[in-house]
């Protein structure tokens, strides 16, 4: 007995950081996802000339918690015609995949569950690719026409865009020469460049593919509410539905983290090697102090006492974190400097991830939705060829640099332009080909006549 206890204790002692991170992820990510929803609603409201949630807590700050409680106490409904077990399993699968893939993501140099996993990003991509099974199975198990159409759409969409995302990531992997998350970031420090600048085409194809992978507008066809009611989750309600919902937002965090790690320099601050820009490290402290000041400023204006208390609490929390940042910063206490990398890294990483997610939201509120055939055409006719050519282009640039000693930036600019040129050629050829195919089809297609005759 004591031996078992001892071994458990040893295990905890050895792995306590990882365990803590894992528990944090499971506990905190749903909360963060809830707050991303709030932020999304606020951003949407801002873009649409309105206020968004304002009732629950000051500025709607408690809205996610109220929503979570409401979803928890809702009736747990499973349709009679549904396949009970798979109906139960599907959202769990989605959520598990999303949370598991987060295990290999490094939120700053400290916060990572699976440290030094040498296939890092490959693991993330592989595990998060299991998420669509949840969608497909859920849509199938619901036994509803809208659900099944949503599930089928999502299968086709995710297969296509997973490929694109994969190729886009390969261009980054080539530059980094490793799949390990930490090494990728450190290589970017050593290279004096974020890979977005060395492989812009790779980044932008990944950006588009990642939006499609997370089923976000303008690629939200699997759940297009104006067409399919709610797509694969039409029959889901209450907590099961919220699992899907959380999985979607957790997936957003995952794809944003992958993009940030590989292309945006991970947890490095902008210009990590330029010493006279060291004052950038004051940014987190100043930002938090500003938030705290704003909260104090607004606290007096809250209509209810509870609300102003909450505002004070938020201000206090921000202030405490700001002090921690200040103490561990470059001008802080020398004995606390050991925390510098972890905290500041996490800050920059989360800032970049937030910017990435903000971009998602911005696009969602601006663009209309694609139609399915257009989505497929965009994926297979444009993005996949582009990503493939880009992989070759990055490879050529690397060869030019290492074998012929060409300047790295020159090589990259050259190959990027070449990539775009080849892509344009491919597209024009593709246009011509589809025009020819159209003409041929029109010439001898009785079906066209039929459908016209109606």
């Amino acid at each position: 007995m004591s031996a078992t206890l001892h071994s458990i204790l040893t295990f905890v002692q050895t792995w306590w950081v990882e365990l803590l991170c894992a528990v944090l992820i499971v506990l905190v990510v749903p909360l963060i996802a809830g707050y991303i929803v709030l932020v999304e609603r606020k951003v949407m409201a801002d873009m649409q000339a309105r206020l968004g949630p304002m009732r629950v807590g000051p500025h709607g700050l408690l809205q996610p918690i109220a929503d979570a409680l409401k979803l928890l106490i809702k009736e747990d409904l499973i349709p009679d015609a549904a396949d009970q077990f798979i109906f139960w399993l599907a959202p769990v699968l989605s959520m598990t995949a999303a949370l598991t893939s987060m295990g290999a993501v490094a939120f700053g140099p400290w916060f990572q569950v699976a440290r030094d996993i040498n296939i890092g990003l490959l693991f993330v991509v592989g595990v998060s690719a299991l998420g669509p099974f949840g969608i497909v199975l859920g849509g199938w198990a619901s036994n509803n026409h809208y659900s099944i159409i949503g599930a089928l759409r999502s299968t086709a969409q995710l297969i296509s865009y997973e490929t694109t995302a994969g190729f886009a990531l390969v261009s980054g992997f080539l530059l980094a020469g490793t799949l390990n998350v930490r090494s990728i970031v450190e290589t970017q420090r050593a290279d004096h460049a974020w890979y977005i600048f060395l492989a812009p085409v790779g980044f932008f194809t990944y950006l588009i593919a990642s939006i499609a992978e997370t089923n976000r507008a303008p690629f939200d066809l699997p759940e297009a509410e104006s067409e399919l009611v709610a797509g694969y989750m039409t029959e889901y309600s209450g907590f099961r539905w919220s699992l899907y919902f959380l999985a979607e937002y957790a997936n957003m965090i995952v794809v944003a983290s992958v993009g940030t790690t590989l292309f945006l320099g991970g947890w490095l601050r902008p210009f990590p090697n330029v010493h006279w820009l060291g004052w950038l490290d004051a940014a987190p402290t100043l930002l938090l102090v500003a938030v705290a000041a704003y909260c104090v400023f607004r606290a007096g204006k809250q209509p209810a006492r509870v609300q102003s208390l909450l505002m004070w609490a938020v201000a206090f929390a921000c202030f405490v974190v700001a002090i921690i940042f200040a103490l561990t910063g470059p001008f802080g206490h020398p004995r606390l400097r050991f925390m510098h990398d972890g905290l500041y890294g996490a800050f920059w990483f989360l800032l970049k991830v937030s910017a990435y997610i903000y971009l998602f939201m911005w696009l969602r509120f601006t663009l209309p939705r694609f139609r399915f055939d257009q989505l497929m055409r965009l994926g297979w006719h444009i993005l996949i060829p582009l990503a493939l050519v880009n992989v070759v282009g990055v490879g050529v640039a690397l060869a030019l640099t290492s074998e012929f000693g060409l300047n790295r930036w020159l090589a990259m600019v050259f190959t990027t332009l070449a990539t775009l040129g080849i892509a344009m050629l491919l597209l024009r050829w593709n246009d011509k080909y589809s025009a020819a195919a159209s003409a041929a089809l029109l010439a001898d297609s009785p079906i066209v006549e039929d459908s016209r005759a109606g």
Partner: protein
């Protein structure tokens, strides 16, 4: 790269579907569906996602408006017409009042006619704004809806100031108006029109040039002019197919013969053309409003019609160009205070007949866009 609508690829897919003998799937769209604009139910027969047949089921909002008319006096029935196309109540009221006036052989005085024109054109803008917002929402653009609602709110505020009601206004009376124009009506309308010019450009910037928007609307829901006429389609649906037929020009009523405006027409008769036509119609309505407030004639606001209306025995048909198309009233009088029969020609109902023709061969996604582009209001379809 052309990622726009390409019907040929779709037909190829259809061919393959037939080759493999895939089963057809019947799905019910509505009556409770987020984008059937009310309680329209469409039974869709699908091959994969492609529509091979459809059937509209209507009547979920039937209130028997025409039958109610037979048990109400002429004045009592006037508020009921507001509840048909409830997003353009003012236009409905105008059509009805003018029809009864025609039956009574009276004419509203010039001042009343000009104020009626202003309010009706504002209502056209409001109705088109609501259409634009919901149509964009159907196609997946979330934001225009809120901008459109913001503009529409300004118009509703003018209505509210004028007659106290915002939605079902009952703004006009048989023979003219009940309420005199309030003091700042001209100023309010002018201010709205001034702002609106830039605002409409905003919506245009959000949608018109967007390649996704073009891809979703170009060549979707094609309806040529011959089909339009055969089906009796009217309004922007007809004009987008290239037929320049607008009752405001063809058979002027109210004060439309006094103003200069253009009638926008499309060329292809697809969803994009209908979008452009409606957008331009809003601009033209704005111009009409600006011209009308320049010079509102003085004088009485109502003709002498008496308190008890007893039109002579006979029948009359009067049609106006509502925001959604030709809105006609056919009234049969037996000489009593109540109409013997009223038959309403609802533009939404008749335009909806084109749905089946338009959605065949398209994807489920397009069905939503096409229902949106027809601009139907189920209150009017079912009456």
């Amino acid at each position: 790269m052309n990622i726009l609508a390409d019907t040929v690829h779709e037909n190829a897919a259809q061919k393959i579907g037939t080759l493999f003998g895939a089963d057809e799937l019947v799905i019910n769209m509505g009556p409770q569906h987020p984008s059937t604009h009310g309680v329209l139910r469409v039974k869709l027969k699908l091959d994969g996602e492609r529509v091979v047949g459809s059937e509209c089921v209507i009547g979920y909002l039937h209130r028997g408006v025409e039958k109610i008319a037979e048990n109400r006096t002429y004045q009592q029935f006037a508020p009921y017409v507001d509840r048909m196309d409830y997003v353009s109540a003012v236009s409905n009221g105008l059509g009805y009042c003018e029809a009864v006036e025609k039956l009574l052989v009276v004419e509203a005085p010039p001042r009343a006619r000009v104020i009626r024109t202003i309010l009706t054109e504002l209502q056209r803008i409001a109705s088109h704004l609501l259409w634009l917002g919901t149509h964009a929402l159907d196609i997946g653009a979330l934001t225009p809806l809120f901008y459109c609602m913001r503009e529409r709110e300004e118009i509703l505020k003018i209505f509210e100031k004028y007659c106290g009601a915002r939605l079902t206004t009952h703004a006009f009376r048989i023979g003219g108006l009940q309420y005199e124009a309030y003091d700042t009506l001209e100023k309010d309308v002018e201010r709205f029109c001034e702002d609106f010019e830039g605002r409409i450009q905003e919506y245009s910037d959000l949608l018109t040039g967007s390649s996704i928007w073009i891809g979703r609307t170009r060549n979707v829901g094609l309806l040529n002019s011959a089909d339009c006429i055969a089906l009796g389609a009217s309004g922007p649906v007809l004009r987008a197919s290239g037929v320049k037929w607008d009752l405001r020009k063809a058979l002027p009523y109210a004060a439309y013969d006094q103003y200069k405006f253009e009638i926008p027409v499309g060329t292809r008769g697809d969803t994009y053309d209908r979008y452009m036509v409606r957008l331009e119609e809003m601009r033209q309505s704005r111009l009409i409003c600006l011209q009308a407030i320049e010079n509102i004639p003085a004088g009485p606001i109502t003709a002498r019609v008496g308190k008890v209306l007893k039109p002579p025995v006979g029948e009359v048909y009067h049609a106006i160009e509502g925001p959604k198309g030709i809105l006609g009233y056919y009234i049969v009088s037996d000489g009593s205070t109540q109409p013997y029969r009223i038959r309403i020609r609802p533009p939404s109902f008749i335009n909806l007949q084109a749905l089946d023709k338009m959605i065949r061969g398209h994807l489920v996604t397009d069905v939503v866009a096409i229902i949106g582009t027809l601009d139907i209001v189920l209150g009017e379809v079912d009456r």
